[in-house]
């Protein structure tokens, strides 16, 4: 289907949104989620190829708030663990 973005073969261990610290950003690679959840995320701006910034962490570190395509979206950690990113490095993520 449409949600087949996992084309690049993972050379090393794949990085996920949950691996980034607050203030770091990454480029969205794809989802390891059911299509319906992935589609909902894409409607909210999580389109593969875009940059995602970890904007802040809520009380207790979970959920965290991500900034993508001009909007802020809170996601629980068990979900961000299933969203693959290529790291950008902290300096590019500085907002």
């Amino acid at each position: 289907m449409v949600f087949n973005f996992m084309t690049k073969s993972p050379r090393k261990t794949r990085q996920h949104l949950s691996d980034l610290n607050v203030g770091e950003s990454g480029i969205l690679d794809g989802f390891e989620l059911e299509p319906s959840v992935a589609e909902h995320l894409m409607n909210l701006g999580f389109v593969p190829g875009l940059e995602v910034l970890v904007a802040r962490s809520g009380p207790g570190g979970n959920p965290r708030v991500y900034r993508v395509d001009g909007t802020e979206v809170a996601l629980r950690r068990d979900l961000s663990r299933l969203i693959a990113v290529s790291p950008l490095g902290a300096e590019a993520g500085a907002d």
Binding site: V2, R56, G58, P59, T71, V73, A74
Partner: protein, 631 residues
Amino acid sequence: MNPSVTLSGPASSSSHKDGRAVYRTVAVVGPPNAGKTTLFNRLTGLRQKVGNFPGVTVEHHTGSYRLESGDEVNLIDLPGVYSLNPKSEDERVTVDVLNGRMPGAELPDAIILVLDSNNLNRHLILAGRVIALGLPTLVLLNMADELHKQGGTVDVLQLARQLGTPVALTSAVTGEGLHAVANFLIAAPQAPEPIELPIFGDPRHCREWAVRVGSNAAYRRGATPEWTRRLDSIFLHPLWGGVIFTVVIVGVFQTIFSVGQPASDLLQHFLDRVAVLLAAAIPPGLWNSLIVNGAWKGAGSVLVFLPQILLLFLVIGILEDSGYLARAAVISDKVMAKVGLNGKSFIPLLSAYGCAVPAIMATRTIENKRDRIATILIAPFMTCSARLPVYTMIIAAFIPNRPVIGPFIGSRAVAMLSLYVLGFLMAVLTAKALKSSVLRSREHGFIMELPPYRWPQWKGLALRLMDRCKAFLFRAGTVILGVSLVLWGLTYLPMHNGQPPAIADSAIAKVGHFIEPAIKPLGFNWKIGVGLLSSFAAREVIIATMGTLHGVDPESHAMDMQQALHSDLSPAGAIALLVFFAFAMQCMSTMAVVRRETNSWRWPILQFLYMTTVAYVAAFIAYHVTLLYWS
């Protein structure tokens, strides 16, 4: 951003000269949080009504918009959608209405598409899909005031050329650019002719298309408002976020009691004065009793709680519109996760303190079906505003007001608070039980968009409050008045020589005595039994019932309700009654909405049996424990 060029595009060129409407029915479509409802309210004002399409749970508003020529155009406010993918129910309804496949809805002959001008890269994707339907479309780039303020720009003429439809920059809040709507409605219909249609399917390509269209129209998004980020760094602060959350929730309830109570008292005073006047104006006898005891006292005993109910909805409405509730959902997520739910359940559960009916409708935002059912099932345990009058009445009658914690928090406040806690704890236990058994689901279900903070729109709030007010008055005027009148009639039968019987010989006493064996173990007499029976229509009806029963009884006629209740209940029985009300599912409206939202009778019936059993058992325990320690 010349204000005179707000409506641009093909359709503006050939207006009819007489200013008559060329469309009859126009659908208002747009993504959530784009100001669609504010715009709809601004256009239709009070000329709107809520409805449901047959067979679906999605609620929609229809209203009429009056043109200068006097013509009226029928506007349908459709649910907020991100795309036209008919997977979710909201989106299926929108697609069906737009295609004319929705029974009961007129096929719209044009579309007003409301987008957030601060989020065009995302929202233009929806524009592409809507325009591709081929209906005459007006694209409104809404929240233009924010776009200007944050330094964003867009060339409306260019965008209109790209999309092949008229485009206008508007602000539903300030009213900027809204004449574009009138211009659109009187212009000759024209199907959109976009320069390039979006590619469907692949979201990456759709977004590329949207960005290209946007940049061709010199679109530059404004910066995120700085104060939204500043506020979030406080409201979502690892430490202060939780503290503020607690203060806000306590503040909500504090407001209801400290402001709502005096307002209710005032209304009560007024209603009593009217009752005295009525009783004096009508000659004594049957009609006097019917109007004063049957109708006025019955329905009036419930009416006094209107101020508190409206206040609760007002406060929740302000929190919702300001954007804080979305943050509250984020903060509560961690706690909700402990009972197997997520932060999205927090908003419906908070509204359930007002009324379970809108709360259950608000569960539609919960994507996970099992989480949604669990939230629906526990929502009626939250202390809704219909329980409030019952609690207030019984507590005032039976619990002496002694200071408990300091001089300000008395025993009555503690009793009230305990009942709130009791309902909440039962909800938590039930959720935990459901989510670890029949409704277990794989987790990872929390996705919450955080809109920028905004000032609440008073007009929209007022309209919503009026909806609540109307619903409440409708109930007071139909269900509650009806039950009061039937009860009054039963107290007047069987007549002997044209005289009503003594209350103990009346038909209502027979009904009461029939069910007495079932409720005696809880410490209730037959009058309370009749009250309980009637409260299954709606909780607060019990007050109206007790009002009617005591009103026609010569022994208690002159007493106020609180004194009269002492002849029906011991203190232990009163505690049992409070506990029963905390848990029981006594509300036809809730059952009806659960049936509608879950699309089966299975859940409402299970819920009813479960809650009533819990209520009975808990009231039994409460009665006997209280007898041991307080007598």
